[in-house]
Symmetry: C2
Subunit: 299 residues, 2 copies
Amino acid sequence: MTPELKIQQMRYVLAIVDEGGFHAAARRLHRTQPALSLAIRDLESRLGQALFEKGGKALPTPFGDYCLPRFRGLVAEHDRLAQELLQHAEQRRGRVDVATVPSVASRLMPQLLADFVKAYPDLQVNLHDGNADYVQRMVAAREVDLGITSLWQVDDAFAFTPLMHDAVGVVCRDDHPLAGRQAVDWRELDGQTLIRNGTSRLLAGTEAASLLERSAFYISNMISLTAMLEAGIGITTLPRLAFPEEYQRLRFIPLSTPHVEREIGVLKSARHSLSPAAQAMERCILDSLGNSKNLALDR
Amino acid sequence: MTPELKIQQMRYVLAIVDEGGFHAAARRLHRTQPALSLAIRDLESRLGQALFEKGGKALPTPFGDYCLPRFRGLVAEHDRLAQELLQHAEQRRGRVDVATVPSVASRLMPQLLADFVKAYPDLQVNLHDGNADYVQRMVAAREVDLGITSLWQVDDAFAFTPLMHDAVGVVCRDDHPLAGRQAVDWRELDGQTLIRNGTSRLLAGTEAASLLERSAFYISNMISLTAMLEAGIGITTLPRLAFPEEYQRLRFIPLSTPHVEREIGVLKSARHSLSPAAQAMERCILDSLGNSKNLALDR
DNA sequence: AGCAATGGTAAGGATAACTTATCATTTTAT
DNA sequence: ATAAAATGATAAGTTATCCTTACCATTGCT
């Protein structure tokens, strides 16, 4: 019933009209003139009406005149769409949503995003941050394309690409007895006031696990936690990346025994592939953080 | 640079998504499953991005999700256009402009248009009327598709299809000496007050031409002319079709010597073809007035 | 009149599209 | 748990579509 009008046939019609003849149009389209003749005849037979007058010249019929602007419209629409989709496919347009843990957001993302917008200036980036559980849930719910986090729970619904190891250490004020030390053993913390935080669970399952049970404080908010530490109320443990360098009076001492580290990496859904923009972001992340095991974290 | 996205490929994508799988879609499209696989692969390679996830199920990728509504839009646009053009081609929609001489407009068009709208209820008809010169100029300027008129001037820019012969006669009031006659010779009009009108030039070039020179009146407007005739001021000549039957006191007496007639027919441009709607109108005119030499004009 | 355009036509070849047959996986049912 | 059925991918071969070469008819221009 409804004829299938091919975009290419319409293009031929437009070229013939614009160039004023079959030969000229054929030249422009890199075809031969009979190719156009046949294509036009086919289109005419589909519509049941002639598009060009019969006598010698390539003049549109009244019906052809009626079709012309409509063909032009659909072809323009097609080209606009093809262009748009290509730009998305080629990662020149689009949007990425990324979720990270706060330490990554503040320590790694600034440089990374600067590199990213330089490489992909027209891609929109949305950055969310929260704890590792939150990041993983955002990825699972597909509210973000990618997460940069440590693995919260192994689950084959996720694909995790490791980026770096982030060792846990003790954080204390500069007047604390441990402040000048190069390393510390967990047993030395016995009797100290330990403030737990969101990352403390990294110690669970290690020989230092008992420290957690003896701790009376839990503070999730980083601002509050640093305020407590600066006030000299106690000490805490943090992965190095999460240690806030900007607080002058705080010190980070690596925990040598047990050696505890979290593994930071890129998290994505294993079942779904990435949008083109997210592919660009993933590549950017891997290029920038992948090989260099990021040893430049010392101050 | 810009890939050529075929309407059919987009249709395949939509069918696969809507039917939830390659097999189901293939069934609906009367194709086999590999045909779809290959078409999709081709489209994906043109865009440089996968549209469906790899693992078994036919789930769209995020890029596929992005494409879907746009494909749907363009396909819908295509179908709408194809439908519209087909309706025009099949003369189910469109517009015809017709110009006629007044006699045709008042005596022939009412029935003809009634037949036409019955056969083509969705076609818009615009009817213009004026003298034969006006009609011919309208056709030449392509402001109308068709004219129904007598030929004003022969010119190979026009195609003229004769419909009927329309004999000239004398028109007078019922109390005129000629009123009861079956025929009249031009010599019998000698000494009568002859009022010329737009059709009087039909006598030019005949033996009765001298009558025109002796006439002091010329009235182009039909209402004015009939008023003059009803007032008994004079007589005139008119083709039978132009004789206004509705005036009870006026009589028409055929002119037997010389026998003068105009030929009424369909006029169109010889260089341009007709719009589909105009083709419908032409056919309707020829069917309704072509063969029957329209002898049913007596009252 | 003769030449150089125009577009149309016929036959054959290149390309694209589709089908049949088969395979590897996954899902469903027993 | 295992068989059966359904999924999509792949390879080879067929068909249809599209395009080209070669030629013709007509028109317009020197």
